[in-house]
């Protein structure tokens, strides 16, 4: 376990997490990685295409359900049969599509960014993470594509490397590893 850092008057509020709650720890670490990147890498701009895709699919699905509800209210059952049947089937098809999207398109990605330094073509970054149930090992993967080039780097570390006894997340330590991943991913020649 690492020692806590000193808090000076102007410091931002420490990020605390219940260190025994696996899923929450993973989500918190993901949020912290995002925070570290967004606050320190000025040429990187966060993208939300995957999240937007998921939101779009969900909105359409809920739209079908809402339409069915309203239509059935205005034109009670036997009249609304065809509409209800179509909406019901469409809704479940969309749910299935959404599930496939989450499994195969989004996977474990939690952060996307476009790195633009003005001279080279933009680099598109995708950061994903995994943490097994009841395990303390946090796997962080950084991948990028730049035109036809691509690179990736993986790091597996115990959450104890970033979180204190009290459940405080130390951003400085996390930043070191985020920098490391970025540098290693871009330096490997593919």
């Amino acid at each position: 376990m690492v020692e806590g850092e000193n808090q000076d008057k102007g410091a931002p509020e420490p990020i605390k997490v219940v260190k025994w709650d696996g899923p929450t720890v993973k989500n918190t670490l993901d949020d912290c990685v995002k925070k570290v990147i967004n606050e320190n890498y000025s040429t990187w701009k966060e993208r939300h295409t995957l999240a937007d895709g998921r939101l779009f699919l969900s909105v359409i699905a809920v739209g079908f359900a809402a339409f069915a509800l309203v239509y059935d209210y205005l034109y009670p059952f036997p009249l609304s049969k065809m509409v209800l049947a179509t909406c019901s089937i469409s809704y479940f098809v969309l749910m299935f599509v959404l599930q496939i999207y989450q499994w195969y398109v989004e996977k474990t990605t939690f952060y996307q960014a476009a790195e633009n330094d003005g001279k080279n073509p933009a680099r598109y970054w995708r950061w994903s993470s995994e943490m097994k149930r009841y395990d303390d090992k946090y796997t962080l993967v950084a991948e990028y594509t730049q035109g036809s080039r691509w690179g990736s780097m993986k790091l597996v570390k115990s959450i104890a490397s970033y979180i204190t006894e009290d459940g405080e997340v130390l951003l400085s330590l996390l930043k070191k590893d985020v920098d490391y991943l970025r540098d290693q991913a871009t330096s490997k020649r593919e």
């Binding site: 219940v18 989500n27 939300h48 998921r54 939101l55 809920v62 049969k81 049947a85 749910m95």
Partner: protein, 182 residues
Amino acid sequence: MGLFDYAIFDEIRRMNARQVIYQFLNFAMIVSSALMIWKGLMVVTGSESPIVVVLSGSMEPAFHRGDLLMLTMDRDDPIRAGDITVFKIEGRDIPIVHRVIKVHEKSGKDDSKFLTKGDHNQVDDRGLYAPGQYWLTPKDVVGRGKGFVPYVGMVTILMNDYPKLKYTVLGLLGLFVLVHRD
């Protein structure tokens, strides 16, 4: 400590706009799934109320209070004595589950008149019908019982008898879905 200072709420405070929208959508999707299953059942069974809860003991020993009854509605299948029908009396909301004991049929199916009685009751249902009504017609029928699941309906009965319980349970479930990520 204020209510929202507890650790479980840390996650929501850290959520950005997109994640908040997604949490609400998640909640909406759960509600929509239940709704679509219900409407889907309505289409498949043909009945506007595909699942009903038996509220009284008037059909014992066949059905007991708290049983969940599955209904289908087939207007082409003529109503015969012995059928267990679920019907609504005009002017009243609550459907009644009883057995048909007498049927009078004329030319077409929609012309038939029938009389019902609960298995456990001493007298037929004429006392329940609207004033001046001595027979039921096919248009009063909401569905015919095709199968049942025992005991499960007690949850609905409890929630309707104690509305505070219903709101608390639903409220907590809703809150849990909204606050918890994934």
